[in-house]
C-alpha cells in the first residue's frame, strides 16, 4: 500500500463524494430544506440521464443534450409537483413516502417501456475526454475533474441561495410553518412549486452529468436515492454544509474501505478469510459509518436546524 496509491485513492474518494453530493443536492433542497420526502428524486435523476442519453445523438452531443435536458426535467418536475406533490405538502411524511414511491414504480416502468431495458449511454464529450497525468503512470480522467467542478459549483450555488437569499429564507420558513409565511404575505404555494421544480432540475442535472461515466438504465436512481439519503442524514437534515461534508466523508470512507479493507485484514488473518470478510466489511462501510455517526450524534454531523 504505497503512499501514492493512498493519495490517489483519497482523490478518488473525494471525487466519488462530490458525485454523491451532486445527486444529493436536489434532495437536500426538497427534503432537507423543505421537509418533503421526495422518493421520486431518484427517478428524476434517472430521467435527466435518459433525456441526455436519448437526446445526445440528435442535439449535437452531450452539451446540446444537457442544455435540453435541464429545462425538460424542470418541466417534468412542474408537472409532477402539480399532480402529486402539491396536495401533500401539509400531510405527513408517510403519505409523501407512499405517493412518491408510487411515482418511482410508474416512472421506472415507463422508462423501460419507452427506452427498453438495456443500458444506454453517451460517450464522454470530446472537450472533456482524455486524462491528465497526476503522477508517474497515474492518469485521472478529465471528465472526473468536470464532475468535481459540477459538485463544487452546485454546492456553492445551493449554499448561496439557501443560506444567503431571501428566497432561501422563505423556503426554510415555509418548511416549518407554511400558514405563517402566507399570513405574512408570501405565496407559499408558488414558492414550493419553484423549489420542487428546481429540485427536479438539480436531480436531472446530476443524472445528466453522470451519463458519460455510468450506464443509463431503468432503476438506476433507486440505489442512488438511498445513498443520497445517507448523505443527508449523516450531514444533518437541512444543513447544506453538512450534506457537503458528509458526501465527501462517505466518498472517502467507501473508496478507502474498498481499496484497503481486504489488504489490511490480510495482515491480520489468512488470505481466504480476508477475501471473504473484507469485501463484506467494505460494502457495509457506509452503513457502519452512518450508524456510528447517528449513535454518537442522533441529529447527524451538523444538526444545525433543529426544528421545534
Amino acid at each position: 500500500m504505497s503512499f501514492t496509491l493512498l493519495a490517489v485513492q483519497t482523490l478518488n474518494g473525494l471525487q466519488f463524494g462530490l458525485m454523491l453530493f451532486l445527486v444529493a443536492a436536489g434532495l437536500t433542497l426538497v427534503f432537507g430544506v423543505m421537509d418533503f420526502i421526495n422518493l421520486a428524486h431518484g427517478v428524476q435523476y434517472m430521467l435527466g440521464a435518459y433525456l441526455t442519453a436519448v437526446l445526445a445523438p440528435h442535439a449535437g452531443g452531450f452539451f446540446g443534450a444537457l442544455a435540453l435536458a435541464l429545462p425538460l426535467t424542470l418541466a417534468l418536475g412542474l408537472v409532477l409537483e402539480r399532480i402529486v406533490f402539491r396536495p401533500l405538502y401539509g400531510r405527513g411524511h408517510l403519505d409523501q413516502v407512499l405517493a412518491t414511491f408510487g411515482v418511482i414504480l410508474i416512472v421506472n416502468e415507463g422508462v423501460k417501456l419507452a427506452f427498453g431495458a438495456a443500458p444506454i449511454s453517451v460517450p464522454v464529450p470530446d472537450l472533456l475526454s482524455g486524462s491528465v497525468m497526476l503522477t508517474d503512470g497515474l492518469l485521472f480522467p478529465v471528465y472526473r475533474l468536470a464532475i468535481i467542478g459540477a459538485g463544487l459549483g452546485t454546492g456553492l450555488l445551493l449554499w448561496l441561495v439557501i443560506d444567503g437569499t431571501k428566497f432561501g429564507m422563505l423556503v426554510r420558513a415555509g418548511a416549518t410553518n407554511a400558514p405563517m409565511v402566507s399570513a405574512l404575505g408570501v405565496d407559499v404555494r408558488r414558492l414550493f412549486t419553484a423549489v420542487t421544480a428546481f429540485g427536479a432540475m438539480l436531480a436531472g442535472f446530476a443524472g445528466a452529468m453522470v451519463t458519460p461515466i455510468l450506464s443509463v438504465e431503468p432503476g438506476m436512481g433507486d440505489g442512488v436515492l438511498i445513498l443520497a439519503f445517507v448523505v443527508i442524514v449523516v450531514g444533518g437534515v437541512g444543513s447544506i454544509r453538512g450534506a457537503f461534508l458528509a458526501a465527501l466523508l462517505i466518498g472517502l470512507v467507501d473508496t478507502l474501505g474498498r481499496s484497503f479493507a481486504t489488504d489490511i485484514l490480510k495482515l491480520m488473518v489468512s488470505a481466504p478469510t480476508a477475501n471473504r470478510v473484507g469485501p463484506a466489511l467494505a460494502s457495509m462501510a457506509i452503513y457502519v459509518l452512518m450508524a456510528g455517526v447517528l449513535a454518537v450524534r442522533p441529529g447527524g454531523l451538523f444538526p444545525s436546524r433543529s426544528a421545534g
Partner: protein
C-alpha cells in the same frame, strides 16, 4: 389437439431486465419460426417475471405448475432464482430447461433427471478465460468480481486453468457504480491482464471507466458476461478490443447461427446476445425432445430419454448432452467489434476448449 404448456420464467424487472428480455424474445422467435409449435404440439408459452426475488420466484413457479399445469419450465436468468425453484419443480416432476443459470449444485450433487441446460455450467466461461490467460502466457493477473456467489464461482473457475500469479483478488459490491478506486488498485498492481465478471450495468460502468482511465490497450481485459450484446449498445466504442469467454457469439461462423442472427435482428431490431442464443437453443432442444418422445409429454421417462439424446442443429455448432443434463460444447474467446452496419457485436477470436464438459458431472449420481 394436444398442447405443450411451457412456463418461461425470466427476470424482467430491475437493472437486469434486459437479460430476461433477450431470452424471452429469442424463445418467442423460435416458436414463431416453427409456426407456434414445438415438437409438433401447439406451444402455449406463459411468461413470468421472477423480479429477481427467489421467494417470489418460488411462488410464481408454483402457480405455473399448479395453475397453468405447465409441462416444462424454462428460462431462469439467475442462479439464486434457479436454486430456489429447483426443489418445487423437481418435486412436481416438471422438466426444467435452463436457458441461462447453471449453478454448480445442479450439475453435481443435486443434479436431477428433470433438469436440462441449453446454456452452460456457471464455471465454464470463466474457465475458458483462465485457460486463455494461461495459453497466452500471462504471468500476473488481477481478478475482479462482484462479491456474491456467482462472482466467487467465477473467480474459482478462472483459477482452475490459470496457473500464474493472481496479483490481487478484488471483490466489489454487487451493483457498484464507480470503479475508480479499483482501477487505481489495478494500475498499482501492474498486472499482465485483468479478468473480470461484471454482468449488466456494472459491466457497462466498468468498461467505460476502464477505457476512460486510459487502460484500454494497455492492460488486456479478459471477461465473462461483461462484454456482450446486452451491454455493447451502452459501452459502444469503449468496449472495442476487449475480450470475453463464450460458447457462442453473433459473429460465429456457421449457417444456423447466421440465420438466427439475421432473423432475430429483423424481428427485434437489435443484436442477439448469448442469452438470446441460449433461449433459442432451449426452444430447439424442447422441440427436438418432444418430437423424439413422440409428443407424449406426460410420459416422464420417455421425455427424460428424449432430452438426453435429442439432437438438433444448435446455433452454437457442437452440442451434446452430458450425463448431468448440462451441455458438452466448445468455448471461445470473443472480442467486441463494430460491424459494418455500425452496430456493436462480439465475434469469436480463438477456440479455447473443444467439446468441453463441466467438472461437476462426475459428482452427479444419475446414470
Amino acid at each position: 389437439q394436444e398442447k405443450l404448456k411451457i412456463g418461461m420464467m425470466v427476470t424482467l424487472s430491475g437493472p437486469s431486465a434486459v437479460l430476461g428480455q433477450h431470452q424471452r424474445d429469442a424463445f418467442n422467435l423460435a416458436v414463431k419460426q416453427k409456426d407456434g409449435k414445438l415438437g409438433g404440439l401447439v406451444a402455449d408459452v406463459v411468461i413470468v417475471d421472477d423480479e429477481l426475488k427467489p421467494d417470489v420466484a418460488v411462488q410464481k413457479v408454483q402457480g405455473l405448475i399448479e395453475r397453468d399445469k405447465v409441462d416444462i419450465v424454462t428460462g431462469v436468468t439467475f442462479s439464486n432464482v434457479m436454486m430456489a425453484i429447483a426443489k418445487p419443480v423437481f418435486e412436481s416432476k416438471t422438466f426444467l430447461v435452463s436457458s441461462n443459470a447453471g449453478p454448480s449444485p445442479l450439475a453435481g450433487k443435486a443434479c436431477s433427471p428433470f433438469f436440462y441446460s441449453a446454456s452452460y455450467q456457471n464455471d465454464q466461461n470463466h474457465e475458458a478465460m483462465g485457460k486463455y490467460a494461461q495459453d497466452k502466457g500471462f504471468k500476473k493477473v488481477v481478478v475482479m468480481v462482484p462479491n456474491y456467489q456467482a462472482g466467487k464461482d467465477s473467480a474459482a473457475g478462472f483459477k482452475r486453468h490459470f496457473k500464474g500469479e493472481i496479483a490481487d483478488e478484488i471483490y466489489t459490491q454487487l451493483g457498484q457504480l464507480d470503479f475508480s478506486a479499483e482501477l487505481a488498485k489495478i494500475v498499482a498492481a501492474k498486472p499482465d491482464a485483468i479478468f473480470t465478471f461484471m454482468p449488466g450495468g456494472m459491466g457497462v460502468n466498468l468498461v467505460k471507466q476502464f477505457t476512460q482511465a486510459g487502460l484500454s490497450g494497455k492492460i488486456p481485459f479478459l471477461s465473462a458476461f461483461t462484454i456482450d450484446e446486452t451491454t455493447l449498445p451502452a459501452t459502444q466504442d469503449a468496449a472495442l478490443g476487449l475480450f470475453a469467454g463464450a460458447q457462442w457469439a453473433p459473429g460465429s461462423d456457421n449457417p444456423a447461427s447466421k440465420a438466427f442472427v439475421a432473423a432475430f435482428e429483423k424481428e427485434y431490431g437489435y443484436v442477439p446476445s448469448l442469452y438470446a442464443q441460449q433461449a433459442y437453443d432451449s426452444a430447439l432442444l424442447i422441440d427436438a425432445a418432444v418430437k423424439a418422445a413422440g409428443g407424449k409429454v406426460k410420459d416422464k421417462e420417455a421425455m427424460q430419454k428424449a432430452f438426453r439424446t435429442a439432437s438438433f442443429e444448435s446455433v452454437r455448432g457442437s452440442f451434446k448432452m452430458n450425463t448431468n443434463g448440462f451441455p458438452i460444447q466448445d468455448f471461445y474467446v470473443v472480442k467486441a467489434v463494430k460491424r459494418a452496419d455500425g452496430k456493436y457485436a462480439t465475434e469469436p477470436v480463438e477456440k479455447v476448449f473443444t467439446a468441453y464438459g463441466d467438472v461437476y458431472a462426475k459428482e452427479c449420481a444419475i446414470n
